[in-house]
Amino acid sequence: MNLFTIIVKNLWHQKIRSLLTVLGVGISISAYVSLRGLTYNLEKALQTTYKTRGTDLVVMEKSTLDIFSSTIDQSYVARLKLMPRVQQASPILFYFYAIQFKQYFLIIGWEPGCYLLEDLKIDGSSLQGEHDALLGSIAARRLKKSKGDKINIRGEEFYIRGIFQSMNMLEDGTIIVPLSALQKIKNTPGKITAINLRLDFGDSLKMSLKQRKYIAQDVQNSINAGFGDLEVKDVQNFIATPFSTIFSFTWAISMVALLIAIMGIINTMTTAVLERTKEIGVLLAIGWRKLRIIKLVILESIIYGILGGITGVILGYVIMRILVTLPQIQGFIVMTYDPSFIANTFGLSVLVGMLAGIYPAVKAVSIQPIEVLRYE
């Protein structure tokens, strides 16, 4: 017999309570998994897209909350193209619009022939005319459209040239139209959301990552110095910006979920300690060290955390799977199974259990054997 045997028997002894606690913790962890998982997947997908596409810097309006609030003048594109080390400068424009039955889509305006279109796998052909559109595979599925069909965006009719697949599911849920057409639809001529920059690193094979970063930083500094109303970010920093509000919101909710998990375990463990006051008193009386009692309580608490973690991860992925199929949000969220995220969640579950065990453990060792054994 060891401490683990006692813990397992303790949990088994109060089966219903243990099960309810594990479920409670599991639900909280599942909220964490689904919320953090979605944003984590989103962040990873965006990073992959930008890196593979070769975008090094993103230029947007200074001091805006996120990229969707950014509006800059298109004339900056030409000026940025003239800067040293800038190889490509591609303007982008974002627009959220309900195409049919209140189904919202992110519509992206790109210049036909820009480098951003290069890595899309298009079933059909790329943008050519002013009224051409490309539909991401998820968007096409949602709209039940295929190449050759037409769609209406705010009164303008577009011809679907092709259906594309990108490197991330988020982009697969979008519609790409020519920049000028989207400016017309939005009634914002000459205005764009941001500019993607691809830099010229010369013989990049011979260049270290540090040297590339140095060059990128140099260009960044030059733009920041020369264009007072613009803000330049490298891809790593930029990823966090467009969804900063969503990320902060989901972070806050997931922290509340974790706090609920901690409170659930504290409640169960404190009750268990109070129920076992006499037994713990006897252990102290027969010579168990306080450290062993602390270990006993905290380990039991950690077991709740681990079991809750397992339940939570399974439940979280089930919730995510359901969420990604909902028509209202399909295409805006992505789902992948990332082992590092799952491992981090389990680590967090252990931490939740450990933190939750502190108070009951302190409570347990504060038991005075004489107090609990005096009255029979």
Partner: protein, 222 residues
């Protein structure tokens, strides 16, 4: 029993409620190695409090308790002291309800640097000695009161302590089981030379003890 003193209380008192209640009042007492000492007296006479003070569960308001010549206050916290030297048996047994007989008995051994094999072997040995081998895997909540008290005695003895403190060990038992427990404690006292300090408000037969003191209002009267 020999004449060496294992436990000595010198002028110990225990007061509660700012000295208004004197549970133990200026008691001096020697306990000799290998004896069975009965502390008797009516309810509220302070016998359990005296036992707790002697066993180091509580500290006296004044006076000193010495264990093998050392102040119990000094040795109380030292690693392994209690497990190696002191065993407790209580009227209400205080067993872990969700553990079986063997696991309950083994609890004190978890504090000692023994291998798993040594722990199991020692536990089985003591369970056999208290006559519960056939109940070794039984849940303690499913065995009789007398058997539960045997488990508690085995738990108190498993680490071979020098002194067993028994607080009304027969208080919850029928007359047959009372005899069994008293016989058991006496047998271990004689066989293992373990000193037994037992509180009881009853009067056990003379063959079960060597010496008896009687308390009244916190003082030794006989």
């Amino acid at each position: 029993m020999n004449n060496s003193i294992i436990l000595e209380a010198i002028n110990i008192s225990k007061f509660y409620e700012d000295g208004q209640v004197k549970a133990v009042d200026d008691i001096s007492l020697q306990v000799y190695t290998g004896e069975v000492l009965i502390i008797g007296g009516p309810s509220g006479s302070g016998k359990s409090t005296l036992l707790h003070l002697l066993g180091g569960l509580d500290l006296p308001s004044s006076g000193k308790v010495y264990f093998k010549g050392k102040s119990i206050q000094d040795v109380y916290g030292s690693k392994g002291f209690r497990v190696k030297n002191i065993g407790f048996v209580f009227q209400a047994f205080y067993l872990w309800q969700n553990l079986n007989v063997m696991e309950n008995v083994m609890l004190p051994l978890m504090e000692l640097p023994l291998t798993r094999r040594q722990r199991i072997s020692r536990t089985k040995e003591i369970i056999e000695e208290v006559g519960l081998t056939d109940k070794i895997k039984a849940q303690v909540k499913l065995i009789s009161m007398g058997q539960r008290q045997r488990v508690a005695v085995a738990r108190a003895l498993v680490a071979n302590p020098s002194v067993i403190f028994a607080d009304e060990p027969t208080g919850s038992l029928d007359s047959c089981n009372k005899e069994n427990i008293l016989q058991l404690l006496r047998r271990f006292n004689r066989q293992n030379k373990v000193t037994v300090v037992m509180v009881t408000h009853e009067s056990p037969a003379v063959e079960y003890f060597d010496r008896k003191i009687q308390l009244l209002d916190g003082r030794i009267c006989v």
